[in-house]
Symmetry: C2
Subunit: 135 residues, 2 copies
């Protein structure tokens, strides 16, 4: 296995366990929930390590990061790595990936008209999923 000399990315038991947990979780979860899920699976991974890996993964774009109403950070490994947004259930965290060309265009137009530069956008939808709606 060729590695760029001195960089070992993943391969540790903890990283594998975290990757597996992320892959199996269907919605956005907090670091602490993910930590609890790992424990539930019998994997012992320190909370600090969970935070550390989530940070790296989110910087890489491997996991998405949003903030819930209380300000807590939630993480999820999405199916796609191209730019998208989410429609997330407030109750269970389950999330649908959505893309919105019109939103991207709107954001660019608004930014240009106001003369702002380096503009990025936060667009998140929160609601109750069909299951949690109790239908």
């Amino acid at each position: 296995m060729q590695q760029p000399r001195g960089t070992r990315v993943r391969g540790t038991r903890q990283a594998e366990a975290l990757a597996a947990a992320l892959a199996s979780l269907p919605g956005f979860c907090s670091a602490q929930e993910i930590h609890a899920e790992l424990r539930r699976r019998g994997e012992h991974v320190g909370l600090t390590t969970v935070y550390r890996h989530l940070q790296v993964l989110s910087e890489q774009g491997s996991v998405d990061m949003i903030r819930d109403a209380s300000g807590e950070t939630l993480y999820r490994q999405c199916a796609t790595t191209v730019h998208h947004h989410h429609l997330t259930c407030r109750s269970c965290g389950r999330s649908v990936e959505v893309e919105g060309r019109v939103v991207e265009q709107w954001a660019e137009k608004v930014a240009a008209e106001a003369g702002f530069t380096s503009v990025d956008h936060t667009v998140e939808l929160f609601g109750l999923c069909p299951v949690c709606s109790g239908g």
Copy 2:
């Protein structure tokens, strides 16, 4: 003076001072920045009281509330009370109120297609204002 019996809303020196400060601040500020601004004006208002009033005002819709990249809550008294979003300067906090019919429609459509109910949206734009862009 007719008051609904037992409800005294505003009128205290602290509430007035806070209202004045909010009216004069041109952009989004944290509770602590507002607290500092009050002190700068010679008004002594406890930090707890600042938080308390900001919470009430935001529940009433009198002030808008957003979260910056670090998760800190920022407040601003906007010119309008109708639904809108913001294009905010990451550097100085100055903010432009923007409305986007297409975004509202997009959000509704996405929510309906996924079968979610009680959907609301968070849409914020952050960039560098013309001044802070250093043009």
